[in-house]
């Protein structure tokens, strides 16, 4: 099922939004140099973040994007950002390795007069950013838990066995997702029977799923946090010849959305955590750089915080989301 949709071709599936509807903000304005830094991509979602940012910047004639690679850890990213800040970009868009660890760098840039757009992983200090765009990790877990709870309730399963395959477990975002998931399930009186973390990669997803399936000879529902590792999770399910349960994905990759609309596997839904936030971040960074606000808002400036809603993609609405898949 997944075989038809290899994502070997980065760039073509990037999500770009140009405000074409005769919007005043779309008209070229003063030139904006946007500095951009995201952690080294070793899996699909992060790669999509960088690709989206580049594609979105390319769509504007008045934006110059300066990206610096963030290296392997927070220390490396700090070092890279130090050189970027020295070059005085108009705005800085930053997806940090860890929001708390890079908080100081955010402060430094803001003090140097460079507005910071903090993407995804939040800085604890309000003074460290001008704009914060976050996905909703807790909400994602909440959405997944709600979907699973509702489905199981509809089926009349009283004591369901629910499995969970998170991503890298030491990350705070994983914690938030799991907390959201548990909160939603608790509302139905359900809880997770077994939880095997993977590492956001397909092979680790396969390994964790195999272990989980072995530990739960019968299962009713499964939430896998990340659609990229989900490729391996689905492979493991097929290899174990299991189909008595349904599965919910996370993030919203193109492969997952296609599988959901094809409806020929256990994957019945996925909850979004869209890398399109990078595109939005570039758009808004441009507006900040040009001192413009959002058209639909009364305020003259871009707001300080935007949290994207996590949406649930099912067979019914999959077509609508197809173009947002990464």
């Amino acid at each position: 099922l997944l075989t038809a949709c290899t994502s070997n071709d980065p760039g073509t599936d990037a999500q770009v939004k140009t405000n074409s509807s005769g919007d005043a903000n779309a008209a070229p304005g003063t030139k904006v140099v946007i500095g951009f830094s995201a952690p080294a991509a070793d899996h699909g979602w992060i790669a999509a973040i960088t690709n989206n940012a580049k594609a979105q910047a390319g769509a504007y004639t008045d934006v110059e994007l300066k990206t610096v690679e963030a290296g392997a850890d927070a220390a490396a990213q700090r070092a890279a950002l130090a050189t970027l800040i020295a070059q005085k970009p108009t705005v800085l868009v930053m997806l940090p390795h860890d929001g708390k660890e890079l908080n100081a760098t955010g402060l430094e840039a803001m003090r140097a007069g460079i507005p910071v757009v903090n993407l995804d992983r939040a800085f604890p200090s309000q003074a460290a950013y001008r704009l914060q765009i976050k996905g909703d990790n807790f909400g994602m877990g909440l959405a997944a838990g709600d979907y699973i709870g509702a489905q199981l309730k509809a089926k009349g399963v009283s004591n369901p066995i629910i499995g969970e395959i998170p991503g890298i477990d030491s990350l705070e975002l994983t914690q938030e997702r799991t907390q959201g998931f548990n909160t939603a399930l608790a509302a139905y009186g359900f809880k997770v029977a077994n939880r095997r973390p993977a590492e956001f990669t397909a092979d680790s997803g396969q390994a964790s799923a195999t272990a989980l399936l072995q530990a739960l000879p019968k299962m009713d529902a499964l939430w896998n946090h990340d659609d990229d590792q989900g490729i391996g999770v689905l492979a493991a399910i097929k290899q174990a010849n299991r189909s008595e349960f349904f599965m919910v994905g996370g993030a919203g990759s193109k492969a997952a959305i296609d599988a959901i609309s094809a409806d020929n596997s256990v994957l019945k839904a996925t909850v979004t955590y869209s890398p399109s936030m990078a595109s939005s971040a570039i758009s808004l960074a441009r507006l900040i750089g040009q001192g413009k606000g959002l058209n639909d808002l009364v305020e003259l400036q871009v707001p300080k915080q935007i949290t994207l809603a996590s949406e649930t993609i099912t067979k019914e609405n999959a077509a609508k989301y197809a173009k947002l898949g990464f």
Binding site: N8, D9, H43, I46, A193, R195, T201, A202, Q214, I231
Partner: protein
């Protein structure tokens, strides 16, 4: 007299390696008993038990193949930190759209050739470039993962080839094909190490390189071949993992180098070279994958799992040493 010395030592006739392996079997048995005690309801179902054994073996298969290659390298006095990276590069290269267009044979061929080629580069750097193995293969680790990321555009590359994807789900006589592959590689590795001149020379090169040189062995060429062998094993493992995950990506087989080295050492291979057993390495891999299985069926959280895992490893080695000592003691009488 030498005669008496020789006679006095006859208990040694029973190979160190065998006793060590017995120790590891003991560790495995203890782990299984823990499993039975903690989850009796699962172990009461024979089908489940059968499946569980096969699952453990299957999860051990790819890393097991890598460990066989690693064991040769370590016995030969070296170390290969690049195995995970080689797998990633082989896997990614074998799943590009271009390679996939050549079908399953093309993909397998590509994975093996890439693995072999990287292994040869490692070998040349180490034997002819005189680089320390640790540094040479660490450099290769970094570079090969970088190249894999470059080739894949950092995307997960899905395999569209049904033949490749089916490897992981195929069974022969009720046993997964992947386990057969592992068995074949282990058997071949055992024969190669114990019954061929190549294997015997590996022990010599690692145990006493100067003596090997004086005996007329081409130490450099032999060293090169050891890394090439490890590279081929990684190529095989790349296909196995790609089949299991129906995809490949630059970050796959993360930290396999640590797992493989640890399994080889627990299996009785001397990190300084010159001694080691293939069967021991296999047991080492099985111990690790049984521990993972034990954690899964008991649903331990990652942090508790990690805390306990370190303790289990230490305990396993201590048990093995204890058994080793007491057994030799016993046999001495």
């Amino acid at each position: 007299m030498i005669a008496e010395a020789v006679r006095a030592k006859s208990p040694r006739q029973i190979d160190d390696g065998v006793i060590r392996n017995l120790g590891l079997v003991g560790v495995l048995i203890i782990l299984v008993i823990i499993g039975i005690v903690t989850r009796p309801e699962l172990y009461s179902d024979p089908t489940w038990v059968r499946n569980n054994v096969l699952t453990i073996l299957q999860q051990a298969s790819a890393i097991g193949v890598v460990t066989v290659g690693m064991t040769f390298v370590i016995i030969g006095g070296g170390i290969d930190l690049s195995v995970g990276a080689i797998i990633a590069l082989s896997g990614v290269w074998a799943t590009t759209l271009a390679t996939q267009s050549y079908g399953a044979a093309g993909m397998i061929f590509t994975a093996l050739v890439v693995g072999l080629a990287v292994g040869v580069v490692n070998g040349v750097l180490i034997s002819y470039g005189k680089l320390v193995p640790f540094i040479a293969t660490l450099a290769m680790l970094v570079s090969a993962r970088g190249l894999a990321a470059q080739i894949s555009g950092k995307q997960t590359q899905v395999s569209a080839n049904a033949t490749i994807n089916d490897i992981a789900s195929t069974k022969l006589i009720g046993i997964p094909l992947l386990v057969w592959i592992l068995a074949a590689v282990v058997a071949a590795g055992w024969v190669l190490l114990n019954r061929t001149t190549f294997g015997r020379r590996t022990v010599a090169v690692g145990g006493n390189p100067e003596a090997a040189r004086l005996a007329g062995i081409n130490v450099k060429r032999h060293t090169l071949m050891l890394y090439a062998l490890s590279g081929i094993c990684c190529g095989i493992a790349a296909i196995m993992l790609t089949s299991q995950a129906t995809s490949a990506q630059a970050a796959m087989a993360n930290l396999y180098e640590l797992d493989a080295i640890a399994a080889a050492i627990i299996g009785g291979t001397l990190l300084s070279g010159g001694r080691g057993t293939i069967v021991g390495a296999l047991f080492g891999v099985l111990v690790f994958s049984t521990i993972t299985n034990l954690f899964a069926i008991n649903n331990l959280s990652t942090e508790v799992q990690n805390m306990v895992k370190g303790g289990i490893i230490v305990a396993a080695v201590l048990i093995q040493q204890f058994r080793y000592r007491s057994l030799t003691q016993l046999l001495k009488r």
